[in-house]
């Protein structure tokens, strides 16, 4: 099969003869699809087959066959256990994916989220019957506001990007209410998460990029030059996506406020500073917090997340509904917008299950433990940087890094090995690759976030492997990298082929044949 310049298969190779079911080898299973092992007669759930004397379905009964495959309980257990073994996970090995904060997920969190008093309550049952849930939300809010020194928090956003959307909506609502609707520009540094400009554009703002300085940080003068009476806000990630704390963040906030604009902070990297630095002290007006990064709620193979947004006093009146408020008879849930508030961004109360897990984590760590966790996360990243900088190339070497170590690909110059190849070789050594090619401002970026959960022993092993790989690449052993991974359940997959003729669901072989004709 031919490969393109990034070392990915190009979709021009011969098509395999279709799937052949084998049991795989040793502990590495080859698992057929649910639809290849199940059928419409089998079921793993015992339910009575009831008679319905007079149906009220009004003639809308199903005629199209469901054709859903079923498995009995033992078959289902085996299918999903075997599939699970094809995944890397935090529990099975280090997962140093930069900007994703793959820290340990305590199981006490899971146990607490499953207490019937939290899991078996309905979002619309009477408020008098869920006082404990509202109190739990209040306690979580207290922790989040205290750690950030802010006036309010909107809990409901479903994930970081959703929180970002909400934060910018609150800024827009506040400016509309103040007769400042003419402010149509949002400043976004070049190193920002890609969601930042997308969010601003979604709300109808035009995005003005702020260039990064040579040292990877934002220049207060560049911000001042870009500010005008038409600027609504700046969206700044701090610590930034290069893993650096913005040294002039207070001056930037002051300049932004002096121009009548708001400061939205992307809090994706809050894990580096929780309990050590309070974003409110830096002058932020709104910041989302990824509970699934900083506060250990599980990533779950890609969600669900949760992205509460803390708000300054100026933005607090513009928080969305619902929120908890002290009432005459216990706690109330305010479910309808008052004044200029922006209404509702999701049905019900948001990610309650994640609130329980996050509060459990906070109570376990305590204020002291959270600060220690942040400091250990920063210590670990700097340790990796210190151990590897003699072999790897560090783009911004002058500052200590925060919770991430960033390398560029100049150490691979002339080796014929790309960042992607290097990352895939790491798989063969038992590690999940680091984040690659992000941030975009660094060529061939490798962004490593060890988190506080890794022991010194694991970090040393990781650094030994990284060092050995780098030396081997420099020694000209290109093949080891370009052919990697060799020991994973699959070799490199053909993404081009997947995108050129998408197959997005299973079809019976005869149907698939017909569809292809």
């Amino acid at each position: 099969m031919s490969m393109n310049n990034q070392g990915r298969p190009t979709g021009t190779g011969s098509i395999g003869s279709g799937f052949t079911s084998t049991s795989g080898s040793a502990l590495l299973p080859n698992e057929p699809l649910l639809f290849e092992i199940g059928d419409t007669e089998h079921s793993g759930v015992d339910l009575p087959d009831v008679e319905i004397s007079t149906s009220r379905l009004g003639g809308f009964e199903r005629k199209m066959p469901l054709d859903l495959a079923g498995l009995t309980e033992p078959e289902a257990m085996r299918h999903y256990v075997r599939l699970s073994r094809l995944n890397h996970s935090i529990d099975s090995g280090m997962y140093p994916l930069g900007s994703c904060t793959m820290k340990h997920n305590p199981r006490l969190n899971e146990k607490m989220a499953r207490l019937p008093g939290f899991s078996d309550i309905h979002p619309l049952q009477p408020v008098s019957t869920v006082q404990g849930a509202l109190e739990m939300m209040n306690q979580l809010s207290h922790w989040l506001m205290t750690l950030t020194n802010t006036a309010a928090v909107a809990l409901t956003p479903k994930a970081g990007a959703h929180g970002e959307l909400l934060g910018m909506m609150a800024i827009k609502a506040a400016q509309d209410a103040a007769g400042q609707s003419h402010r149509r520009i949002v400043l976004v540094p070049e190193s920002a998460h890609g969601t930042n400009p997308a969010t601003a554009a979604f709300l109808g703002y035009s995005v003005k990029p702020i260039p990064a300085r040579d040292d990877g940080t934002v220049d207060v003068q560049a911000v001042k030059n870009a500010l005008s009476p038409d600027v609504a806000a700046i969206m700044l990630t701090n610590p930034n996506t290069c893993g650096l704390f913005e040294p002039q963040v207070i001056e930037i906030a002051e300049a932004v406020h002096a121009a009548g604009a708001f400061f939205y902070c992307d809090g994706a990297n809050f894990n580096a500073i929780m309990g050590v630095v309070r974003p409110g002290d830096l002058g932020i007006d709104a910041m989302h917090i990824n509970l699934h990064k900083t506060f250990s709620t599980p990533h779950g193979g890609g969600g669900p997340g949760a992205g509460p947004v803390v708000l300054s006093a100026a933005l607090a009146p513009f928080a969305p509904v619902p929120f908890v408020r002290k009432g005459s008879n216990g706690l109330d849930l305010v479910e309808h917008a008052e004044g200029g508030a922006l209404g509702r961004i999701t049905a019900f109360q948001g990610q309650m299950g994640m609130y329980v897990r996050a509060l459990t984590y906070m109570l376990s760590h305590g204020g002291d433990g959270l600060a220690q966790a942040a400091q250990d996360a920063v210590l670990n990243a700097n340790y990796i940087k210190a151990r590897l900088q003699h072999v790897f190339s560090v783009p911004f070497g002058d500052y200590p890094t925060m919770h991430e170590a960033l390398f560029d690909d100049s150490f691979l110059a002339g080796t014929g090995v790309t960042t992607l190849d290097f990352a895939k070789a790491l798989i063969d050594e038992g590690f999940h690759p680091m984040t690659m090619y992000f941030p975009l401002v660094v060529h061939g970026a490798m962004l490593i976030e060890p988190t506080e959960s890794e022991s010194k022993q694991t970090l040393d092993h990781f650094c030994d492997v990284m060092e050995e790989l780098a030396l081997d690449a420099k020694a000209g052993n290109k093949e080891r990298f370009t052919s990697a991974p060799l020991k994973a359940p699959r070799r490199r997959l053909d993404e081009t082929r997947a995108a050129r003729s998408p197959i997005l669901k299973w079809e019976r072989p005869d149907e698939a044949l017909k569809a292809a004709e």
């Binding site: 393109n4 310049n5 990034q6 990915r8 190009t10 979709g11 021009t12 993404e495 081009t496 995108a499 050129r500």
Partner: protein
């Protein structure tokens, strides 16, 4: 017959009053494997700088802008089934659309091959 370029990496090959538009070898290299092309409809009237088509690669989706004003006269339907033509032969078989040039004067404001080559150094 002259070929001109835009800073956004489109080329336009001028044949009489018709221009043939595609993306440069440099652009296809940077984009990687093209997986999908959204073609304009024939008869569409474009102003210089308008979005004319979208090419999607495994890495990014990007707009193809009209290098000059005019009307779309023909599109390369072969790209629908084989978008990889843009990678394998960007300047010939991988052309995207033809445009009836409304204002020949706009051609002059585009980059010539030397200026474009300098841009992509």
């Amino acid at each position: 017959m002259t070929t001109k370029f835009t800073p956004d990496h489109e080329y336009i090959r001028v044949e009489g009053s018709t221009g043939i538009v595609g993306i440069t070898p440099y652009a296809q290299e940077a984009l990687g494997d093209i997986v999908f092309v959204e073609l304009p409809s024939v008869g569409k009237v474009l102003k210089k700088g308008d979005e004319a088509a979208v090419v999607e690669s495994v890495k990014a989706a990007s707009e193809i802008y009209a290098p000059v004003s005019g009307t779309v006269t023909e599109v390369n339907d072969a790209l629908t089934g084989n978008p990889g033509l843009i990678n394998s032969d960007p300047e010939a078989a991988g052309w995207i659309y033809k445009i009836a040039i409304a204002d020949a004067g706009e051609i002059d404001s585009l980059l010539d091959s030397d200026a474009y080559a300098e841009l992509t150094l």
